[in-house]
Symmetry: C2
Subunit: 346 residues, 2 copies
Amino acid sequence: MPYNELRKDYLLNRWVVIAKERSRRPTDFAKQKTETAQTAVCPMCVGNEHMTPPAMMLYLKEDGGVKKSKDPLVGERPKNWLVRCIPNLYPAFSSPRQPEDETQIMKSECFGYAIGHHEVIIESPNHDEDPADAELPQLELVIKAYIDRLRELSAKPYVKYVSIFRNYGREAGASLSHAHSQIIATPMVPSIIQEELEASKAFYDKHGKCVFCDIIEQEVKGPRFVLENNDFIVFAPYASINPMAFWIMPKKHALSILDLTRPEVSAFAQTLKASLKALKDLVNDPPYNYGFHLAINKEAKDHYHWHLEVYPKLSIWAGFEISTGTYINTITPETAADSLRKAIKP
Amino acid sequence: MPYNELRKDYLLNRWVVIAKERSRRPTDFAKQKTETAQTAVCPMCVGNEHMTPPAMMLYLKEDGGVKKSKDPLVGERPKNWLVRCIPNLYPAFSSPRQPEDETQIMKSECFGYAIGHHEVIIESPNHDEDPADAELPQLELVIKAYIDRLRELSAKPYVKYVSIFRNYGREAGASLSHAHSQIIATPMVPSIIQEELEASKAFYDKHGKCVFCDIIEQEVKGPRFVLENNDFIVFAPYASINPMAFWIMPKKHALSILDLTRPEVSAFAQTLKASLKALKDLVNDPPYNYGFHLAINKEAKDHYHWHLEVYPKLSIWAGFEISTGTYINTITPETAADSLRKAIKP
C-alpha cells in the first residue's frame, strides 16, 4: 500500500499517522549534545541541603545499610543521604492549608483550586546520575522512593491521582540537571488516565478480561517487542505518538507499583535501566520524559493495569498536533522496537 | 485563596493548573532571537518554483488585479504569483491512488491508511512575510486561499476533516522559514474536534443554543477580553493550556470559514494581524502555532461554531503533561488578556 498508516491507540480516542513516506531511522535523530546550563551551585547536590526545603523523606546510608528518615526541622540536615524527597519550591498543586479545604475538595473536584502535592525526588548524591548508567541498588532505591511516596499520597482522602514522572534533558523540560523525578498528587483524575480507565472497564465488561493483559499477549510475540524477563515486557506501542517511544508493562496484573514485591522492584530497575541504556546508545543520549500510568481507586483493580510510558523528545508538536490532538510519528513503532531490541545489552 | 487555580476547558475533558504561585509576566518569556537556519536556496522564493511540485492553485498578479490559476504541468511556471498552494513533498496524508481506496475509506475510518491531502500555502513572495506585519490585502489573499482549499477538500467524499494551521518559528516546528501555512485533510474527525462536537451538541440539546455563542457573551464583558470589532472577538480562553494563548471567534454563528463574506474576510485579516502584532511586540517575536477549529459536516450547523486558536510556544510540555493530558500554565489568561489588550495598536 502506498500510504502512510493511520493508527488509533489501544484505548484512547487518539490517532497517529505512522509516516513511512517520510520515514526516518533512529540514528537520524542523534545530534550534538547541547551544553546543559550549569547553575553556579546545584541546590540538589550534597552539602547544599540548606538550599531546599527540609526533606519529608530521606534514605540514609547507615551502618552499611539504608535507613528511612526525614530532615530535622531545626539544626543541621544529614548529608549521608542516598535519596532525598523534598517539596517542590514552586508547587503546581499545594497541600490543603485548612481542614475545610480538604472537605470541599472531597465534595467536588471542580472546587476550582489546585489542591494536592508536588514533590521532587532527588535520585542520587551524584549530580549526573542517569537511570541508563546508574548502579542497580541506587535505581532500586529510587523506585522504592516512588512506592513510599505513592503509598503516603494516595492514602489522602482528597487525592484522586498521583502522577510520577521524570524529565531528562533541558529540551524535555528539566530545568535543573541534577538527577531527579517529580510526583504530583491531584484532586481529580487526569483526562488520559480517565479515558484509559473507562475504556479498560468497557473492555472488561464485554470480554471478562484485562485489556492490558491482552495487549501483553499480542505484543510479546509481535514486531514491536523489545525485551522480556520474568516480570516485565518492554514494547513499542502500536500507535506511538513519539518516535522511539516504548512502554514497560508488568506481567502481573496490578493497579500500581504499590503491589511490587522486592524481587519485582529489582527486576523493574533492571528493565528500566536496560531499555533507557539502549535508547541512550542508539540516539546519542536524547532528552526524554517518562510517566507512570496507574490507578489508586481500588474499584479499578480488575480492569486497570499499571505501566510506565517512555517518551523520547525527538520531534516538535506543532499546529496540527496541538489543534487536533492527532499526531505524526516519523519512526514506525516496528522500526523503533527492532533497533531498541538490537541495542539492548544482555 | 492561597492555591493555584484548577480549571477545566469550556468543552473538553481537559484540566489546567493556572499557576499563580510561580506566576510569570509576559515579558519574562521574551528571549534573544535565535538565528533561523537559512537554507542555501529557499524552495518557496520567487524564481525557485521548479524546486516544488506544480501548484494546484495560484493567485497571480495580473492587470492590476488578482487572478486565480494553477501551474502548467509542462513548460515554465508563472513567477508573478502572490499566493501559491502546492502539495507537501512529504505528505502525512496522501490522496487516493485508486477509486477502490476512496470507497474503502468511506466505509470505515479504521481502514488503516492515512488517505487525505497535505498541502502547503506559500503566503507571499516575500520570504520573511509575517501576518503580524503583512499588508492587509496580502493577508486577505491568504485567508481566501484557506477558503478556496477548504471548499475543494471538504467536498471530497472521503474527507471528514480539514485542519488549517500555521507554524511560526523553528521552535514551533517550522522547518522552512519562508512564510507558509499547511492544510491537512483527514479521513477521520480528530479527537479534539470530535470531543468539541459532542460537547457542543450536548449543550445545544440541553439549552437550545450554541455554547460558543454563549462563551462570546461571557468573555466579551470579562477579564479575558482582548479585542472586539463588528465581526470578531478576541479573548484568552478560561482554561488556556499555553501561556499567552488567545482565540479569535466570529460573532456570526457559522460552521467554518466557508461562510465568510468579503467584508468578514477583511475584518478577520485585520483581527488576526492586530492580535499577532500585539503578541509579537509583547514577547519579542515568539514562536507560535495557530490552528482553525471548524466543522465540515453540515449536521453540526446548529451547535458548532468555528474559531481560530493561537498557541504561543513559550513552555515545554514535559512528563506530567504528556502522560496525563493535564497542563500547567504559568501566565493566567487574565494577565495574558490584560497585557495583549494594552499592546493592541488601534
